[in-house]
């Protein structure tokens, strides 16, 4: 989880990730940043994120993103 926040900070520093609950809907992460985020996630956590999973509700908060990663790990 800390690693994830580190990645996010690097991609888009101007957001308070601990509290933000609308990363996508509030336009903090644009689609390009999400692409970068996904490749970082794939490289760092060893999961494959299929296109289907890229929906706002999976990326709106750090908690949600972490849940997604955990879920994908299990499905591997």
């Amino acid at each position: 989880m800390e690693k994830l926040i580190e990645i996010l900070e690097e991609l888009q520093p101007e957001v308070d990730y601990e509290s933000c609950e609308n990363l996508v809907d509030g336009r903090y992460l644009d689609s390009l940043t999400i692409l970068a985020l996904i490749s970082e996630i794939e490289n760092n956590f060893g999961v494959l994120v299929p296109a289907v999973e890229i929906i706002p509700s999976n990326f709106n908060s750090v908690k949600k993103i972490w849940e997604l990663i955990e879920r994908l790990k299990e499905e591997e």
Binding site: R27, S31, L32, L35, A36, S39, P50, V52
Partner: protein
């Protein structure tokens, strides 16, 4: 018949509402389907067969995919994990074949009706260059109304079923109605199955409230269309029709007016559409969210024709950027230039696909292709230079949250949008570039005011346009600030509420640009 036809608003819709309420609840969705097919038949006649074919194809292939999944689950229950994988892979491939075949089947109609001529003419051009003495005969076909919209909906349903996002519907009625529902059939919004599937078949009684609110929204749409769009159309038609005879400022004004016209016409149509659906308690997604408050082009496209943008994002942008091919290329770039560049490349490739399709979707013609790539270039430039701009701002100590800075960004975006819409409206590329050339090179103020008033609109007309735009602007501004205007009006007492209604109705009747001397705008998006 367009949604602004008096017959639609004051005859067709009321009759459907009355019938809807007197028949038993179970039959109501059937009535909506019949009404939808009548509506479609009235406009496109026998071409309705293509709508039915599309609907049936997605209905059955979705069920087939569901069946494949079921068989797969049964087979893998008592297999070892290695074998499981093999079997899974096999069924996945089968499912994908079903998906691809059905999508191609649906796209073939779209291609046949809308793009055959365009590509035919390109092939003819190539044959001509190669000095091959043969040319394809081009035929102008009348496409089924709304084919560009319902085909995208059909694809979204199939892909969602394939991905397990929605369950394939057993109810044929539901799928038929989803694709043909009369408010959305002509101009969208391109609706996802998951967002309407429950409400479509509910058949909930219309209430006093739903009718009032629905018609309130319809009236607002009529205001945008009759008072503003139809009025500006006179000016726009003349400037785009014969740009050589007008000065650069008038042409610029023509382009600005066209952008306003397009917004009023299209978002006004959406008001009628969403209002109509609201009457039957079917909630549709908004298609516009104050697009002219955008700070850059990508934001603009997330506020303008939202449903198309979302469709392209969900079914083109992410799938393309997550595809194996693009990932391979990205990996290669990452090794050479680092991850920042790699992501840019990945996004750019996906954006290229998105904007190629966006352009072509709007119409089979070079102006639309250029319209697409124009936005692609703007967005790519924005992506590449954004970090630099942020750095420069920091150096110069400019606060990017500053209101004035925001305002400048909004103005910049509006100017870029107007240029885009100019290309969009121009009858040909040479006219588009001719106009742009003239606007940017031959600036002169001489005789401006008399020329402006010679283009079919008098001082009164301009005042009305300004008044209308201010009304729409204030409503957007309030909505943008999170103050729901409709809710606020409904909370006021009856005198204030009725005053609003009367003002709106009389505004349309008195200030509407109809009758002798005004030619209404054709429904712009219905042809796409």
């Amino acid at each position: 018949m367009s949604y602004f036809n008096i017959i639609y608003i004051f005859a067709f819709l009321p009759v459907v509402i009355i019938l809807y309420n007197i028949i038993p609840k179970k039959l109501r969705p059937v009535l909506l389907l019949i009404a939808s097919y009548l509506f479609f038949f009235y406009i496109s006649g026998k071409l309705i067969i293509f709508l039915i074919l599309s609907s049936l194809s997605i209905y059955f292939s979705a069920l087939l995919m569901k069946k494949i999944d079921k068989v797969k689950e049964e087979k893998i229950t008592d297999l070892e994990s290695e074998e499981k994988r093999v079997v899974k892979e096999k069924y996945k491939r089968l499912k994908r074949t079903v998906l691809v075949v059905t999508i191609l089947f649906n796209l073939s109609f779209l291609f046949f009706f809308k793009y055959l001529n365009f590509f035919g003419s390109i092939v003819n051009g190539i044959l001509d260059i190669l000095k091959i003495n043969y040319s394809f005969k081009l035929i102008k076909l009348l496409a089924p109304i709304g084919i560009s919209f319902y085909t995208l909906q059909a694809i979204s349903y199939l892909v969602d079923v394939y991905n397990g996002k929605v369950e394939a519907s057993d109810s044929l009625l539901k799928v038929l109605l989803y694709l043909s529902f009369f408010p959305i059939i002509m101009e969208g919004p391109i609706t996802r199955f998951s967002s309407v599937c429950d409400s479509l078949l509910k058949g909930e009684k219309t209430t006093y409230n739903s009718i009032c609110l629905g018609y309130q929204r319809i009236l607002f749409g009529m205001f945008k269309k009759f008072v503003i769009a139809d009025r500006l159309n006179i000016f726009v038609k003349l400037t785009f029709g014969n740009y050589r005879s007008y000065s650069s400022l008038v042409l610029a004004l023509g382009a600005i007016f066209y952008t306003i016209l397009l917004y009023m016409e299209f978002s006004g149509t959406m008001d009628v559409v969403i209002g109509s659906a609201e009457i039957f308690n079917i909630k549709l997604e908004e298609n516009f969210k104050a697009p002219f408050f955008s700070k850059n082009i990508s934001e603009f496209w997330s506020r303008w024709h939202i449903s198309l943008g979302l469709w392209l994002k969900n079914y083109i942008f992410y799938p393309v950027s997550m595809s194996k091919f693009v990932k391979k290329i990205t990996a290669w770039f990452r090794k050479l230039f680092g991850s920042r560049v790699a992501t840019q490349v990945m996004g750019s490739m996906a954006l290229f696909a998105v904007w190629s399709l966006n352009g072509l979707w709007h119409g089979a013609g070079w102006t639309f292709v250029v319209f697409g790539y124009y936005h692609l270039i703007l967005i790519l430039l924005g992506n590449i230079f954004e970090p630099t701009v942020i750095k420069v701002c920091k150096k110069l100590k400019i606060n990017r949250d500053n209101k004035f800075y925001k305002f400048l960004r909004i103005i910049k975006t509006c100017c870029l949008v107007v240029i885009g819409e100019l290309i969009f409206r121009a009858p040909s590329l040479s006219v588009a570039f001719g106009m742009l050339g003239k606007i940017f090179t031959k600036f002169s103020l001489k005789g401006f005011s008399s020329e402006v008033l010679s283009l079919g609109l008098d001082v009164c007309d301009f005042l009305v346009v300004i008044l209308g735009v201010v009304v729409v602007f204030v409503v957007s501004l309030l909505n943008e600030k999170g103050k729901n205007v409709r809710e606020r009006i409904s909370q006021k007492n009856i005198f204030v509420r009725w005053a609003f209604y009367y003002a709106l109705i009389l505004g349309i009747i008195l200030l509407g640009a109809y009758g002798p001397g005004y030619a209404p705008v054709d429904p712009i998006y219905a042809d796409f």
